[in-house]
C-alpha cells in the first residue's frame, strides 16, 4: 500500500555534488579552459624559447623594411628599391582579391549555365553537362592548374611571332596584350556619367515594375537600360571628342626587342589560374544549381506553363527565384572555396598573397610566425566577411517564404 510521499521540495534532491550536472558541467569547462590555456601557453613559450635560442629576429618591424625584390603583376606601383615588405603584402592581397572577384563572377555564370544544361530536356546537352561535371569534380584542382598553365604556355606562339587579333590585341606565350586606356585629367566625367546611367536604369526598372503591376503594360526595360548604361557614357565621350577633348586615349602594345611593350598585359599565370579556378568551381556550382532547381516542385513549372510562360521565362521568373533559397548557402561556400583555392596560385607562379608573402617575404625575412599568422588572419577575415554578407542575403531571400 502506498502512502503519499512527504512533501519534500522536488527541486533539491539530496545528491552528492559530484553528480550535479551543473557542477559537473562547470568542472568540465574549467578543465577544458585550463588545458587549452596550457597548450597555448606551452606553444607560445616554446616558440619564444626556440626563437631566442636560434637568434631569429621577431616582431612586426620587418613590414617597414625595404623589400628588395620585384613583382611582375601589381595593380599598385611597386619597386624593389623603395617599396617595403608591407607594400608587398598589399600587392599580394590585391592580386588575391582580384583573382577571387573575377573568378567568382565567371564561375557563377558558367556554373549556372552548366547546371541548367544538366537538366535540359535535350539529351545530348544534358549528357555533356554531366560529363563535364563528373570529370572536372574528380580531378584535383592543383593538377588542373598545372595542366592549364602548360597548355597555355605550349599552345601559344613565342613572343616574337604573336597572334595579332583585330583591335591591337596580341596573344603569345607572355600573355594577352590589350590596349591600355589612359585617362586624361578630365576623364572623371565618364565614370560619373556611367554612374548616372546605372542609377537611371535602376530607377526606370522600378518605375516599369510599378507600371506593369498597375496597368499590366510592359515597358522596354532592357532597351532603355542598355541605352542609359552604355549609350549615355558613349554619347558624352563622343561629345567630348567633338569638342577636341580626349578623356581616354589608348596605349597600344608595340613590338619590343623581346616582347611587346606597353598596353595592358594579362599574364599567362593569371589566365591559367582564373581558367582553372573557374572551370573547377563552376562544376561544383552547377551541382548546387541543379539541386536547387530540382528542389522547386514540378507544380510550379506546370502552373507557369499553364499561365502561358515560355520555358526561358519560366526559368527566369518562377524557378530560379525560388531555387535561390536552396542555392545560396552552398553557393556561398563555393565562393569561399574559390577564394581559398586561389592560394594554389603558388603552383603556377602567380604572385598572390601566399606566393609573395608566405613565399618570398617569409624566405627573405625568416620570420615564419609573423608571416603565417598575418596570412591566415587575412583568409580568415575574408571567409568571415563573405559568410556574414551571404548570411544577410540569405536571410532576405528566406523571408520571402510564406
Amino acid at each position: 500500500m502506498q502512502t503519499p510521499a512527504p512533501a519534500t521540495p522536488r527541486s533539491s534532491p539530496k545528491v552528492s555534488p559530484l553528480y550535479d550536472p551543473r557542477i559537473r558541467g562547470a568542472a568540465y569547462q574549467l578543465l577544458l579552459l585550463v588545458v587549452v590555456g596550457l597548450l597555448a601557453w606551452t606553444a607560445i613559450d616554446n616558440a619564444a624559447d626556440n626563437l631566442r635560442n636560434a637568434r631569429i629576429a621577431s616582431g612586426f618591424g620587418f613590414l617597414g623594411n625595404t623589400a628588395g625584390f620585384d613583382v611582375n603583376q601589381s595593380l599598385i606601383p611597386f619597386a624593389a628599391a623603395s617599396s617595403t615588405y608591407g607594400a608587398a603584402f598589399v600587392v599580394g592581397l590585391i592580386n588575391t582579391l582580384m583573382v577571387a572577384a573575377i573568378g567568382i563572377v565567371l564561375a557563377t555564370i558558367l556554373g549556372f549555365l552548366v547546371g541548367i544544361a544538366r537538366l535540359s530536356e535535350n539529351w545530348i546537352v544534358a549528357r555533356l553537362a554531366e560529363i563535364y561535371i563528373e570529370v572536372i569534380r574528380n580531378i584535383p584542382l592543383l593538377l588542373q592548374l598545372l595542366f592549364w598553365y602548360i597548355a597555355v604556355l605550349s599552345a601559344l606562339p613565342s613572343a616574337r611571332d604573336s597572334y595579332a587579333l583585330p583591335g591591337s590585341v596580341f596573344l603569345n606565350q607572355r600573355g594577352l596584350f590589350l590596349p591600355r586606356p589612359l585617362l586624361a585629367a578630365d576623364a572623371w566625367a565618364l565614370p560619373l556619367v556611367l554612374a548616372l546611367g546605372i542609377a537611371g536604369a535602376v530607377a526606370f526598372r522600378i518605375h516599369a515594375g510599378r507600371v506593369q503591376r498597375r496597368t499590366g503594360r510592359r515597358l522596354p526595360v532592357r532597351r532603355v537600360a542598355a541605352l542609359l548604361v552604355l549609350g549615355l557614357p558613349l554619347a558624352v565621350w563622343g561629345l567630348l571628342a567633338l569638342l577636341g577633348l580626349a578623356p581616354v586615349t589608348f596605349e597600344l602594345p608595340v613590338k619590343g626587342t623581346f616582347n611587346l611593350r606597353g598596353g595592358l598585359q594579362l599574364y599567362p599565370e593569371f589566365v591559367a589560374l582564373v581558367l582553372g579556378l573557374v572551370i573547377y568551381t563552376a562544376a561544383f556550382i552547377a551541382e548546387v544549381v541543379r539541386a536547387g532547381i530540382q528542389a522547386v516542385s514540378r507544380g510550379q513549372r506546370e502552373a507557369a506553363r499553364a499561365l502561358g510562360l515560355q520555358s526561358g521565362t519560366t526559368l527566369r521568373l518562377v524557378v530560379i527565384p525560388q531555387a535561390m533559397r536552396v542555392i545560396v548557402p552552398p553557393l556561398t561556400s563555393q565562393y569561399l572555396n574559390l577564394t581559398k583555392n586561389s592560394s594554389l596560385a603558388v603552383a603556377v607562379g602567380y604572385p598572390d598573397l601566399v606566393q609573395i608573402f608566405m613565399g618570398t617575404v617569409l624566405n627573405q625575412t625568416g620570420q615564419a610566425v609573423e608571416v603565417v599568422a598575418i596570412t591566415m588572419a587575412v583568409y580568415l577575415t575574408i571567409s568571415l566577411v563573405t559568410a556574414s554578407v551571404m548570411n544577410l542575403y540569405n536571410r532576405r531571400v528566406a523571408l520571402v517564404e510564406r
Binding site: Y28, E121, P140, V372
Partner: protein, 385 residues
Amino acid sequence: MTASSGLLAQPFVRRDPVPAAPPPALVGGPVAWIRRNLFSSLTSTALTLAAVLLLALILPPLLRFLVFDAVWTGENRDACRPEVLGRPVGACWAFVANKINYFVYGSYPIEARWRADVFFALLAFGLAWMLWLDAPRRDLGAAYFFVVFPLASYALLAGVPALGLPAVPTSLWGGMLVTIVVSLVGIVVSLPFGVLLALGRRSRLPVVRLVCVIFIEFWRGVPLITVLFMANVMLPLFLPGDVTVDRLVRPLVGIALFSSAYMAEIVRGGLQAMPRGQFEGAMSLGLGPWLTMRLVILPQALRIVIPGIVNSYIALFKDTTLVSIVGIFDFIRTIESARVDPNWAAPTVSVTGYAFAALFYFLFCFGMSRYSRFVERRLSASHAR
C-alpha cells in the same frame, strides 16, 4: 435474363487476340526518341547542333593525342620526339611505363618495395571489409581499419629493425604510396576527432561549444596550403627545442587538423538530422547522456553521414596533392620531377604525365563518388520502409 440470353443465343466471342497496333511513330522507336530528346524545338535543335559541333572539335584531337598518335613503347626521349619519329606525336605513354615504379613507390628502396605492396594489399582488404555493407563482422572490420591496419602499416613502411625490417626513412617514400598514406591518415584521424568536435559543438556547456566552434571555423576559414605551410615552418617552433618532427608527419598533422574540422561539420549534420524522439526515447529508457550518444544517436547519425564521409574523403584525396607544394614527394611531385628528366625531354611528356595523373585521380574519385551515391540510395530505401 433468360429472354435476353435467348435473344443473343449465339453471342460473338472473339477467340484470337487482336494483333497489337504499331505505336504511333512519334511516341516510340529511335526516331521518335531522337526527335523528342534532340530536336523537340528550334532552340533544342540549335543546342544539339552546337553540342555535336563541340564534340567534333574536342573528341578527334583528344583521341588522336591519347590513342592514335600516342607512343606506347620506348626507352628514352627519342621514342617520343616528332623529329625522330617523323610523325606528329601524341601522348608519350612510354614515359609513364618507364617511370611507373617511381610514380608508385618514389625512391622507396627496391629491395623493400614488397613491403609497400603488402601495405596496398592490407589496405584493399580493409577497404573491402569497410565498404561492403553486408560484410560479416563489420565491427571487427572497423577495429582492423582504425587500429590494427595503421599500426601494421607503420611497422611495414617505416620498418622495425627488431623484426628484421630495416628502417626506411620517410624522405625516401614517394609517389602514390605517399598520396595514399597521407589521405588515409587524414581520414583515420579525422573521423574520431570530427565526432568529438561535432558533439562538442552541440554541447550544452558554453565554453566547450565556444572552443569547438572556434576550432572548427578557424580551420574551415583558411586555405589548406597555408595550413601546410604553417605545419611545415611553425610546428617545429611550437614544440620544445629538443623535439623534431619528421618532414612527412608535419603535413599529416596539418591535414588531420584541417579535415577534422570538415568532418565535424558533416557529423554535426547527421546529429542534427536525428529526431528529438530518439533522445527522448533513450532518456525514457533511463540512459544517461553518454550512453544515449554511444548506443542510440551516434550509430544512427554516422550511418546517415556515410555518403558525406565518403565525399569528404574524395575532397581530402584531391587535397593531398597540395603536400607537393611543401616538398613532400607525393604522386604529383614525382610527376613534376620526372617530367624535367633530360632523358625524357620531349614535347608531350609533361602533358602525358598530367594526363596519367588525371586518369589516376579520376578513377579513384569517380569510383568513390559512385559508391557514395549507391550508399545514399540504399540508405534512403531503408528509411522509406
